[in-house]
């Protein structure tokens, strides 16, 4: 996990983002315990409260559950959430493409044609 002190994104957000991606992509299996709050704080050289806030975000999102005396365990993930996560990335990429197309003066049909062309090229 890479944590940046300078990115302007709060550190707890960066930690939550990292774990969220790993959980949704299935890199961390259901039932696995995340590192304890204080050992993660030690390993990342950050405060306990920052780590705790990251875990609270993930808990609110339903990705993990606090188990009394044992820590935070990863919940079973339904496929829809993973799909949604990817959909968001697709939309982000497309929005960027639209912005660039505007600057380049591309029409809607030209943009769609470009997309189709790129997809066929990829398939080949």
């Amino acid at each position: 996990m890479i944590i940046s002190q300078m990115s302007g994104v709060p550190i707890y957000q960066q930690i939550a983002d990292n774990f969220r991606t790993d959980i949704l992509e299935g890199k961390i299996a259901e039932g696995t315990y995340l590192p304890s709050i204080r050992s993660l704080a030690r390993d990342l050289k950050i405060s306990v409260i920052t780590t705790m806030k990251a875990y609270e975000i993930l808990e609110q999102e339903g990705l993990i559950t606090a188990v009394q005396g044992k820590g935070y365990a990863v919940n079973a993930q339904d496929g829809n959430m993973l799909r949604e996560q990817h959909m968001r990335k697709v939309e982000e990429g497309l929005l960027q493409a639209i912005a660039s197309a505007r600057i380049a003066g591309l029409s809607q049909s030209e943009l769609i044609e470009t997309l189709k062309l790129l997809m066929t090229l990829q398939e080949e």
Partner: protein, 300 residues
Amino acid sequence: MMEFNSVIHGENILKKYGKFRLDIPELDVPRGFATALIGENGAGKSTLLDIIAGIRLDYKGSLRFFDRYDDKDRENDPAVKNAIGYEGTGNYFLPMWTVKQGREIQKLLFDSFDEDKYIEMCRYLAVPDEDNKKISDLSDGNQMKLKLAGVLARDTELLLLDEPASPLDPLMRDKLCDMIREYLQSDEGNKSVLFSTHNIADMEAVTDYMILVENGRIVEQGFVEDLKEKYVVVKGEKADEEFAEKVLYSKSSNAYGFEGLCLAERLDELAGINVKVEIPSLSQICVAIMKQNSALYGIR
């Protein structure tokens, strides 16, 4: 605001000497976290730590430790003081003691003093390996390292550290932060550290909860992540400075623009002017509050 259990709870703590008056109606230090006692020199940080540790007994008010012992238990039941590691700014090694004698005396004084761990800590902190040197001949930094090794070599639940970072160089301050984190994680949620500091920036990455003391009073306290939501840094153009002034805690300005701290809940009063809003650092929060209070009390 996050709920927590207190490792130290104090009520109506009062101590007067000369013109100075420490007056703390309520004190809570969260269990399982690192708490920074922040304030200028003479704010009352050391006095408060000494009162908590029982170094000073001439105070009014009551204290509760670990949710079950009061100040009398602290003096009468060795279990309480055995569970507390205190590091003060004064000399508590006698001037004629050598490094070796200092180690042997701590072994006699403290039930859970682990000599091997002490030696390991001294090595980790790069204390010169000179057993026959007088402790009083060591540098301030090395004397501090010996004190830290001493408290960390014992089996405690609470550390009270008075200005541990002050005599240390940047590399050693980093190690100090690592040691605090290691201590906290060695018994998840049960070990707590209370340290005083005026090097806020150096200790920020290890501070969970902060208590800001000024003129013998607590002027702000809370979990750092909560405070970073309570306050925001506002930056704006010179032309808007006068308009923004009414909501700013402390302001610095130059020919190009201004910058200050304001309560997040008052941010909408700045609607209509062009400002940039940022999350403050702990030092920005502390410095702004200190400036504000100094202005109120007419100190500067």
